[in-house]
Symmetry: D2
Subunit: 184 residues, 4 copies
C-alpha cells in the first residue's frame, strides 16, 4: 500500500533555517536540494522502499508564482503514484482570511491549482507553523498526519494541518495562522 | 469531522522517561495520569475542540495483562466516537516475530482483542521506537500518522508505525523492532 | 560561591523566535520580559538560590544603541555581585572583522563599553549562533561556558563563545560568524 | 589558551541511550567508542584545534571499578594538557549522601582517586541528570560549565554540576540526585 506514496517538497516555513554570519535578519533555505522531510522520515524510521521523495524547489509561499504552482500540479499529474503528499508554505497552500477585510483573500493558492486538474489521485498538502529545525516544531506531526491521510483517503485534494484533515475548499488559514474548517 | 476523535493512552515506550535520583537503571512512567500525547498535540497546535484524550493506564507492553487489554477494548466499545487512536507499547500492540523461532509469536496482543469485538469503528494503534522525551523520537510523527489514518480510514483495526498504515493482521513487529507488512 | 552570580539578558540571536501568523519574514523577540535563559537554567537544574537573572531589554545587536550599551555597563557597575554573565547579540558583543575590508570594523561594541568602566568584577559576555528555540542551538553550552568562566576567572571582561573563553580584546567575530583569537 | 584542553569520556547517564528491539527494559551505551560529547561540541561550534577528546570507556557509575578509576587518574597524570574535563556517571563522581543513613556514603569515588595524585593540573568532572539524547537534557550546559571552569580555574579537582563549580570535597550528590555544597 505504502509503495504508492510520493512526497513533493516546495519549501515554506517547513524548511526554513536560521542563517549564520553577520547582520542576519531574514530566514533562509538550506543550500542544496535538501528538505527537512528526509530527516523527519529517518526519525520516523520509515522504510525507504515505502515512498519516493522529490525536491521541486524551495520558496516562501508568499512568493510562489503561478508558474511554480503549475510545476507542482504538473508533477502530481505525471506521477505514477496515486497517493501524494506536498509540503508547502502555509500562506498560499489553500485559501486564507485577509487580515484587512476578515474575508477570504483573493490570493491564488496551490490547492486550487491542483484541484483544477481533476486528477483521480489523493493529494494532501501540509506545512508548518514552526520550521523543522525548531524544538517546538509541528513538522513531524504534520508530515505524519498528511501521510496517514494520503494512505487512507479517497481521491481528492486535502489540507492536513493543526490535527485537521479536510478537503481543501473546506479549510482556511486564519488571521492568527492556524487552519480551521470553513463553511463557505 | 475531527470532533469524532478519541485518543486513548496506555503507556509503552511512547511515555517512558528517565528517572533522576541515585542508582537508576530502569525507565519509569511519569507520576500522575499524564501522557506525552498532551505535549505533542500542543506542539501540533491541534484545536482542543477537535478531540478527546483519555489516560487509561501506563504499562510496559511486555507486562500488559488480559484484564488491561479488556479495559482498552471496552473503552473502544463504549466510546461515542467512531474514530479512535490508541497509544500502546510495541511488543504486544499486534503480532511479533519470535526472535528464537523466527515465526509469529503466540503472545496475546491488543489489536486482536479489539478486533474480536467487531466494532463498527476505526481504531488505529500506534507506539514508539524512542520515547517522546528523546530528541530523535518518532512519537510526533507516529501520532500524526495514526490521527491522519483514523480520520480517513473505513471501520477496522489498524497499525500505524514506521510510516506504514495497514490492517492489524497484515503487520508484524520484526526482531529488530520495526513494523513490516506480513503475508500470513 | 555561586550566590555571587548575576545574569543579565539583552536579546540577540540567543532569544530570537519564529513568529506565527501571515506573511512572516523576520524574527521576533518573545512578548513580555522573558529570556530563554530561564528555560535553560531550568534544564540545567541550577539551584534558584545560586543566581539572580535580570532582563534588561531585547534588541538585535545590529541595532543596539550607545544608550543601551550604557544601560548594560551601568547595571554591571551597580550590581552587588562581582561575577556577571551578559547574554548579547554577537554582531556587536566585541569587535568583528568587516566583511568588506577584512580588517577589524569600527562598529562600537558592548565589551569595550563595559571594560572602559574598569570595574573590579568578572564580566563574561556570551551569545548564540542559533537561537535557543532551535534543536541544534549552542545556547545551553554557551551559557554553561560563560557561567563556568564567570565563577572561576579573575576580574576582567571576557568573551565566551565557540568553546573559547578569552579577554574581550583578544577575540573577534569572523566573517563566517564564529569567534576566534585575534592577535592585534 | 584553549589548545591546552583535554576531554575524557567514561560513560554514565551522560551517554546512555534507549535501545530498540524487543523486550527492552534497561539503558545501553552506543556501540563503538563514541560519546555524545562529540555531537555537543559540534553543536557548540567549538574549533577542532581547541581541544582533544578521548573515549576511555563507557560504564554506569554504579559499576565503575577501582581499576577503571585508576585508568582515569592515570590518563590525567600522563596528559600533556594541564586543563582536563572528565564526563562521568554521577553516582560515584564525588561523594554522595546515603539515602539510608542521610550521611555521606562510604562508596569510593573518582574525584578522590584523582585528587590523591596531587597533580598540578585543573581537572573538572561533570555528568548529567538526563542523557544527552533527551530533549530536556542538561548535558550541553554541563559540558559548557565544565569547560568554562577548566579554562579558568587554578589547579585542583572540581565538580561542575547544577550550575555549581566547586572543589570536589566541598560538594555532595543529594538523595534526590542534585549536587549541592557540603560543609564537612
Amino acid at each position: 500500500m505504502a509503495k504508492d506514496l510520493l512526497i513533493l517538497t516546495t519549501g515554506g516555513t517547513f524548511d526554513k533555517r536560521y542563517p549564520e554570519g553577520q547582520w542576519v535578519t531574514e530566514f533562509t533555505f538550506p543550500p542544496g536540494q535538501e528538505s527537512a522531510v528526509t530527516e523527519i522520515l529517518r526519525r520516523a524510521r520509515m522504510a525507504p522502499e515505502a515512498f519516493a521523495c522529490e525536491w521541486l524547489f524551495a520558496e516562501d509561499s508568499t512568493k510562489i508564482t503561478d508558474a511554480q504552482r503549475d510545476i507542482i500540479a504538473n508533477r502530481c499529474a505525471s506521477a505514477t503514484q496515486r497517493r501524494i503528499v506536498v509540503t508547502h508554505g502555509t500562506d498560499t497552500m489553500t485559501r486564507r482570511i485577509d487580515p484587512e477585510t476578515g474575508k477570504v483573500a483573493a490570493t491564488p493558492n496551490t490547492a486550487a491549482t491542483i484541484a483544477a486538474r481533476k486528477l483521480d489521485k489523493t493529494v494532501v498538502l501540509t506545512g508548518a507553523a514552526q520550521p523543522a529545525v525548531l524544538r517546538d516544531s509541528d513538522t513531524d506531526f504534520n508530515l505524519g498526519l498528511a501521510i496517514g491521510a494520503a494512505l487512507m483517503a479517497p481521491p481528492g485534494v486535502y489540507i492536513a494541518m493543526n490535527g485537521l484533515v479536510a478537503p481543501w475548499d473546506a479549510v482556511v488559514k486564519t488571521v492568527v495562522g492556524s487552519f480551521r474548517k470553513f463553511e463557505a
